[in-house]
């Protein structure tokens, strides 16, 4: 993160200002990841396909959140709330998916084995 500068504005408050150069590096990485995800869509890895697409999307989102949205330089409080928001998403997905993937176990008892 050496490309970013922490400057003091005239009021004497710390307000991290991320440099344009750092933003440039992030957008380059985002473009690379975009082409990677398009490329991977044409490679058939069977049931892994959605997971690869998701993993790449998550890394793009992390880059945007941390640098574009300044969360890397934010207070611990902000970071906790950002993490909390995404964690709650996992609760929503996780508990719903538990139901849908385990329904087969009842209609098809062999699935238990």
């Amino acid at each position: 993160m050496s490309d970013t500068t922490a400057t003091h504005d005239d009021n004497g408050h710390d307000h991290h200002i991320v440099s344009v150069k750092a933003y440039g590096m992030v957008i380059s990485a985002l473009f690379f990841l975009m082409f990677l995800t398009v490329f991977m869509a044409f490679v058939d890895l069977g049931s892994l396909n959605p997971f690869i697409a998701l993993a790449i999307a998550v890394s793009k989102a992390v880059l945007i959140v941390l640098i574009f949205m300044n969360v890397w330089f934010s207070t611990r409080l902000t970071q906790i709330f950002v993490a909390g928001g995404f964690f709650w998403l996992l609760i929503l997905f996780g508990m719903i998916i538990i139901d849908f993937v385990s329904r087969a176990m009842v209609t098809n008892p062999q699935a238990w084995e």
């Binding site: 928001g85 609760i91 929503l92 508990m95 719903i96 538990i98 139901d99 385990s102 329904r103």
Partner: protein
């Protein structure tokens, strides 16, 4: 009662306060003062409560006899749906947070206003928009899906005003999100010097936990209602089984919010009780940190239990087991609170003012509601109880016996602070006892009739259940009287009540250190409060516990 008489002897009504600041209608409708917005909310939700209550009265009247003689089936469906929608989205969810919480949180933590006063006003108008949609539903002939809007009935088959009903809930939902957002930022950033997290009143902790639920849960039901509304407009949608959609998915998304929402409907009430119990037993709360963290635990664990509404709806057995197990876990923090309140009472100097009578009522009724919840949370037992009056009685014990009792309790406790006037204490005590007796007479028979198998949402039933239903209707009449009394003596006190003085209950907390009613910016601006002691630093005068 010594404290009331002493404090009031010399009480005068302060000349400068938020009520007298300006008198125009516009100064109320466009106010950004959290206290005035709280009063706007109080008036509006009282009207909605009366509306929802009148539907309840219709239901109880119809159920007086086993035959369907007052309402036909379709009308009955609409009446119980409107009762549910109005009471849940327009009374219970905003009840304590938007009125008492809105009024008190800045006062309790010692700041001049909520962090975003204009967003606070916006939240009120969103609520009003939602209420308008609810009235539109009413005028256009009602809605008959039940307050849960289950698909595919609501999306495909219902011929009633489902669209406007979803819009009503949607707008009310965003109002609730904005209230929660405001509270969390205010509690984090606006506390007075010395007001550390563990010096905050437990009322504030409870609202913090509530706000987390409002922010993280409500948007999911909002988008679900959008999906439902588009499905109705479009003719097909993602819950439509004809094209492979799964109606049970709707229930998942709906309960992801609506189960945590029942904690929105109880946590603020628990906060009220923590304040009132300590004040009227003149004792510190027993186990402050446990009560504080149990609020957060309820909020978090409450997000993991929603599937217990869906044991018989086609959800997988495995998921049901998981949800059932976590449901038992959520009973632990709830029980911690009840135990700690009880321990707080132990050897306290207990007095029985009206708020305390309501608080005792809360503790008993919430206990019954909570314990029957454990029965319903067990997967096997729920197959028997599901969709019977046992469920109806259970959630009324928690919602009405819990939250409405707590709302009345808080209203009596802080009414002197909010208006600067005392209500008639004797009438207050009578009302508290009437509500407690009437409530139990209404809903205890419903446990029995539900256990015997009477299904909910039917207006015709077997004759052998009539006795219990008559008892229930009789109780509802007494309950109604108990609610009508405050509707008379509260407004009366505004004009004729004695000036309350700054601290009529001799209570602890920053809100009692300013005038009643407070000035527009809550405190003397040259002398903003600084906190030097922990919450509930009550000292018992009778020296039974040894010197403190």
């Amino acid at each position: 009662m010594h404290t009331i008489a002493e404090a009031q002897r010399s009480a005068v009504f302060p000349e400068v306060n938020y009520l007298s600041a300006r008198h125009t209608v516009a100064s109320w409708l466009f106010t950004v003062d959290h206290k005035r917005i709280a009063m706007l909310y109080l008036v509006t939700i009282s009207i909605m409560f009366a509306l929802g209550g009148s539907f309840a009265a219709l239901i109880r009247l119809e159920l007086l006899t086993p035959a369907g003689d007052l309402l036909d089936s379709d009308t009955y469906n609409k009446v119980f749906t409107l009762h549910g929608v109005i009471m849940i989205f327009f009374f219970l969810i905003p009840s304590v947070p938007a009125t008492i919480g809105n009024f008190l949180i800045p006062l309790m933590i010692g700041c001049k206003d909520l962090a975003f006063p204009r967003i606070n006003l916006l939240s009120y108008y969103l609520y009003l928009l939602g209420a308008t949609f609810a009235i539109i539903v009413l005028v256009r002939g009602g809605v008959d899906t039940g307050w849960t809007f289950y698909t595919p009935y609501s999306s495909t088959y219902a011929q009633t005003e489902v669209f406007y009903a979803t819009m009503a809930a949607f707008a009310a939902g965003f109002s609730s999100i904005l209230t929660g957002l405001n509270f969390i930022v205010t509690i984090h950033k606006m506390r007075a010097p010395g007001m550390s997290w563990f010096r905050m009143p437990l009322f504030v902790w409870a609202h913090y936990a509530t706000s987390l639920i409002q922010i993280l849960g409500t948007p999911v039901v909002a988008i679900t209602l959008v999906l439902l509304a588009t499905e109705r407009i479009w003719g097909v949608g993602i819950f439509n089984p004809n094209i492979g959609g799964d109606p049970v998915l709707f229930q998942h998304l709906f309960w992801f919010y609506s189960h945590p929402a029942v904690y929105v409907m109880i946590l603020p009430g628990m906060g009220v009780i923590s304040e009132v119990i300590t004040c009227f037993s003149r004792k510190r709360i027993f186990g402050y940190t446990f009560v504080a963290f149990s609020s957060l635990a309820i909020a978090v664990i409450g997000f993991l239990v929603w599937g217990h509404h869906m044991y018989v709806s086609g959800q997988s057995v495995f998921a049901g087991i998981v949800f059932s197990f976590i449901t038992f876990l959520v009973a632990v923090p709830s029980a911690i609170k009840v135990f700690n309140w009880t321990a707080t009472l132990y050897k306290g100097e207990i007095t029985f003012e009206a708020p305390m009578i309501y608080a005792f009522g809360f503790m008993g009724l919430f206990l019954v509601g909570g314990l029957t919840g454990i029965l319903l949370g067990s997967m096997g037992a729920d197959v028997h109880f599901h969709d019977t009056y046992f469920v109806v009685a259970h959630f009324h014990y928690v919602m009405v016996g819990g939250m409405v009792m707590a709302f009345m309790c808080g209203l009596h406790f802080w009414w002197p602070k909010m208006t600067g006037r005392m209500y008639n204490e004797t009438l207050g005590q009578i009302s508290g006892i009437l509500v407690f007796v009437g409530f139990n007479l209404t809903f205890m028979p419903q446990f029995l009739v539900g256990y015997l198998g009477m299904p909910r949402r039917y207006h015709v039933y077997s004759e052998e259940w009539q006795m219990l239903n008559v008892m229930s209707t009789l109780g509802a009449t007494i309950l109604g009287l108990g609610y009508i009394l405050p509707a008379i003596y509260f407004p009366w006190s505004l004009f004729k009540g004695a000036p309350a003085g700054d601290n009529p209950w001799d209570a602890k907390g920053l809100e009692w250190e300013t005038t009643s009613p407070p000035p527009t910016f809550n405190f003397d601006e040259e002398n903003m409060p600084v906190v030097t002691e922990e919450a509930y630093a009550y000292v018992i005068e009778r020296n039974t516990l040894g010197a403190r």
